[in-house]
Symmetry: C4
Subunit: 243 residues, 4 copies
C-alpha cells in the first residue's frame, strides 16, 4: 500500500515541506565544496511525522544535475526506502543510494541526516581500504579518532546500509569510508552530516599530503579524548551544537 | 561541391539550429569542471538530417575562447569533416580536431556525441600510456572496466580517429586515453560524452591518489558486470538514460 | 567586571566599528583563497582604544559560517580574551581560538593582526612538524627564511598562544606551523596577517610539489637577507608597507 | 629628463590608452587561471609610439590587488624601465619586476608582451631547476620542445632580464623557468604571453603527475617539429595567430 502525503496531519505535511527546502539547499554545499561531480552524491534528512504514521525521509532524485535541484524535486520516502505519493507533479525516482540511507535511519534512531559523496581524497583512502589516522587536532575535534573503513558492498540491497551501520555503531566517527566506493557520513541532521562530509574530505586530503614525506605522529589518546569532548560541547554558539 | 544549409529541409535546418544551441551550452561544462584551459578542448554532436542528405555534426570553432562561444559561432560539418556553408556571417574554421570527430561518426553509427579534452589527470595517465584500472564502483558504473589507452597519433589525418575507433569499438568504456595526448570520450549524444569526460577525469584523479600508498585491488569481474548492468539500466529518471 | 562598549570615548567606539568592518571583510579572503572549509579559521585585529581603557581586539564568532559573517557579528574582546558588552543584539561567543589571539596581542605589542587557518599544505607540513625550507625567492621576500614549527599544544588555555609567541618572537617569519594543528600568522594589521596566511599556503604547496623529485637547493643566506630587506622596504606603493 | 605622455602625438596617446585597457583586462586571466595569489604576478605590453619618440610599455603597479586594477592604474614606462609622467592623478609605482620586462623589450624586438607569475607547478620545476620534458602533444604545439630553466638571479638590476633573454633567445619556447623563482613568458603581444603562462602551468602540472608512476616517453624530435609547425601556422581562425 502506497502512503500518500495527504494522509498526514497538516503539521507533518509542513514538516515535509520544510525538510525538502533544507535538503535541497544543502545539496548546493556538495559541489560548492568540491565533493561531487556531475550528478553523483546525495543528502537526506529524516522527517518528524505523526504518531502512528510511518517515519519518512527526504532525499535527492536520481541522476538529476545539481543546477536543477529544488525543494519540489526532492523525493519523500518511507524508512523502507519506498517513495510515497507526495502529490507533486514531478514524478521523480529517488537516488539509487536510497536503500542505504533508509537502512541507516531504521537502525540508528539518533541519526537525522545522511550524506554520500565520491569526494576525491576520501575515496582514494577508500580505494585502498585504509582508515585515516588521527594525526590532526581537527580530526580529533570532529571524528574523535581515526576515520574507519567499511566493507565492500554492492548496490541493490541492504549490504551498503548494513556495512555503514556495523562500522559506525560503536565509533565516534560520523564518517565511514566504504571499501572501493566512497564516504558516507551521518549526523543529528542533514547539516551535520554535510559538515562531516566536508571535514572528512579535508582531513583525507591533508593527511594524504602530510604522509608523503614521513609518517605523521598519531595524537595521544588522552589528547584525542580531550579535544573531542571540548569540541562536541563548547564549540559554536550553543552548547551541544557544533554546527 | 560545398553543401549549403539552405538546401536542407526546414526541419533539418531546425535540427541544426537546436544542435548548435546544445553544443554551445555543453562547452560551458568543460571549463566549469576544470577539464580545459584557454581554448583547448572541444565538444561535437551529430545532427539528424534529411534522407539522402549528407549527415552533419556541429563542433567548436578553432582557437576561440570559451567566453566567446555561442550557438552562432558553432561550426557545421559533414562527416568528411568539411565545413558547410551555414549561412552565418561568422566564417569560423572548425576545431583542429574535427577530422578525428568526423572519423568517429563515420565508423561508429551509434555514437551521437564526441568530446576531447586535455584534463590534467587523464592526460597524466595518457602520458604514461597506462590504462586506469577499475578499482572503484563508480568506474564499473560508467566505464564497465578499465579505461583503455589508444595509440600515439599525429594530428592532420585520420590517425587519431582511427586510434579512437579501434580502441573503443570492442570496449564498454566511452573513454580512451590517447597516448601522450589526452582523453577522447563518446556517447549517444554530446551530453553523455561530456559526462564521460567529467567522470574520466574524476576517476583518473582519484585512482592517481589512491595508488600512491599501495595498489588498490581491482574489482572482481562479476561485480564490475553487475554494477555496469545496473547503472546503465536503472540509474537516473528514465530506463536506459544514465544522464 | 565586564567592560561595556558604551564606556569608551566616541572616537574609540568609532575605531571599534571600523575594525569590525575590516575584520568581517577580510574573513572573505579565507574561503576565497581556499584556506578554510566550513566554519574553520579566524581573523582578528587589535583596536586602538582610549588611554587608560583596556586594549581590545575584534575576532570572528565561533562556529558561524562564512556566508553569514558581517561587521555586526564580529565579537569584541579584551586582551584577556573576554568578550565585552558590545551593545549589539547578537550575543555571539568569540572564536574558540580567542585565547591564543589574546595571548599574542598581550606579548607582541607590534602585532596588530592574527590569522589562523587549517590550510591544506601548511597543515600537512605541520602534521609532520617539519619547517618549510627557504628554497624560493618569494619565501625570502615574505618570510625572510624558513617557516618554523611550533609545539604541540591543546586548546583551552595559554599553551597555543605561548607556543606561537615563543616561536615567532625571534623569527623574521610572520607564520608558524603549530604541530599537528595548522598555521598561525601575524602582521602589523589583519590584512598583513591574511597576506602571510595566503603566502604561507602558497609556498607550502609549491615546495611540497618541488621536493617530490629531488631536494630543491636552499637560497644562500646573503641572498635571503637581500631579498627580505628589499621586499620589506621597496615593494608596493608606500615605503614600508608590503601589503 | 622625464618623458610626458602629453608630448606624444594624439595617435600614440590613443595607443597608450588602448594598451592600458588591454593589459588591465588581461591581468584578470592570472587569478582566473590560478596562476597568482594576492598581488603577485604581472603582465606588460609594448606600445607603438611615434617615430623618434622613446618606445614605451604598460605594466601592473606594484603591490596592488587584482580586484583594484583598472586601465587607469596601469603604469607607463620607457624601455629603460622608467615610469613616465602619464598625466593621471594616481601616482603609482610600477611592478618591482619592471626592470626585467624592460630588458626583454630592449633585447628582443619581436616580443610585444611579457608575463611573470609564481604559478605552483611551474615554480615547483623552477625550484628544482629542472626543465619540463616534452612528453605531450600540447607541449610540442605551444613550446616546440622542453621548457628550459634560466639562471638564479636577484631582483634589483638587469640579472633577471638577462637570464630570460639568454635562455629564450635561441629557443622555440615562449616560457622560461627562472631558477628558484618562477616562470616568465613572452609573446607577440600580452595575450600571447598570458596564453603561454596558462599553458606552461598546465603542462607543468600534468607532467608532474604523469611522472609519478614512471617516466613518460619524450616525443620524437620529428613529431615535435611537425606538431609545432602545424600549431603555429594552422590552429585558430587566422593563419599565423595561434591565440
Amino acid at each position: 500500500m502506497t502512503i500518500s502525503l495527504q494522509d498526514l496531519s497538516p503539521q507533518a505535511q509542513q514538516e515535509v515541506a520544510a525538510t525538502r527546502e533544507t535538503v535541497a539547499a544543502l545539496h548546493a554545499e556538495l559541489p560548492r565544496n568540491d565533493l561531487v561531480v556531475w550528478t553523483a552524491g546525495n543528502v537526506s534528512q529524516r522527517v518528524d511525522t505523526d504518531d502512528g504514521a510511518p517515519e519518512l525521509f527526504v532525499i535527492k532524485p536520481s541522476g538529476v544535475s545539481y543546477d536543477e535541484l529544488s525543494a519540489a524535486s526532492m523525493v519523500v520516502c518511507t524508512l523502507d526506502g519506498e517513495k510515497i505519493d507526495d502529490g507533486t507533479a514531478a514524478d521523480l525516482q529517488p537516488s539509487s543510494d536510497t536503500a542505504a540511507h533508509a537502512y541507516v535511519y531504521r537502525h540508528m534512531p539518533n541519526v537525522g541526516g545522511v550524506v554520500h559523496t565520491h569526494s576525491t581524497y576520501a575515496t582514494a583512502w577508500a580505494a585502498r581500504a585504509e582508515p585515516i589516522p588521527c594525526v590532526l587536532t581537527m580530526m580529533a575535534d570532529e571524528f574523535g579518532g581515526d576515520i574507519p573503513v567499511g566493507p565492500f558492498a554492492l548496490i541493490g540491497d541492504d549490504s551498503i546500509g548494513h556495512g555503514i551501520v556495523e562500522t559506525l555503531r560503536d565509533s565516534r566517527s560520523p564518517a565511514v569510508l566504504m571499501n572501493r566506493h566512497g564516504p558516507f557520513t551521518i549526523g543529528k541532521d542533514a547539516r551535520a552530516a554535510v559538515k562531516a562530509a566536508v571535514l572528512c574530505e579535508e582531513v583525507a586530503r591533508t593527511v594524504h599530503f602530510a604522509r608523503q614525506y614521513g609518517d605523521p605522529q598519531r595524537l595521544e589518546q588522552r589528547d584525542i579524548d580531550a579535544l573531542f569532548a571540548r569540541y562536541q560541547n563548547v564549540y559554536g554558539q550553543q552548547k551541544g551544537t557544533a554546527s
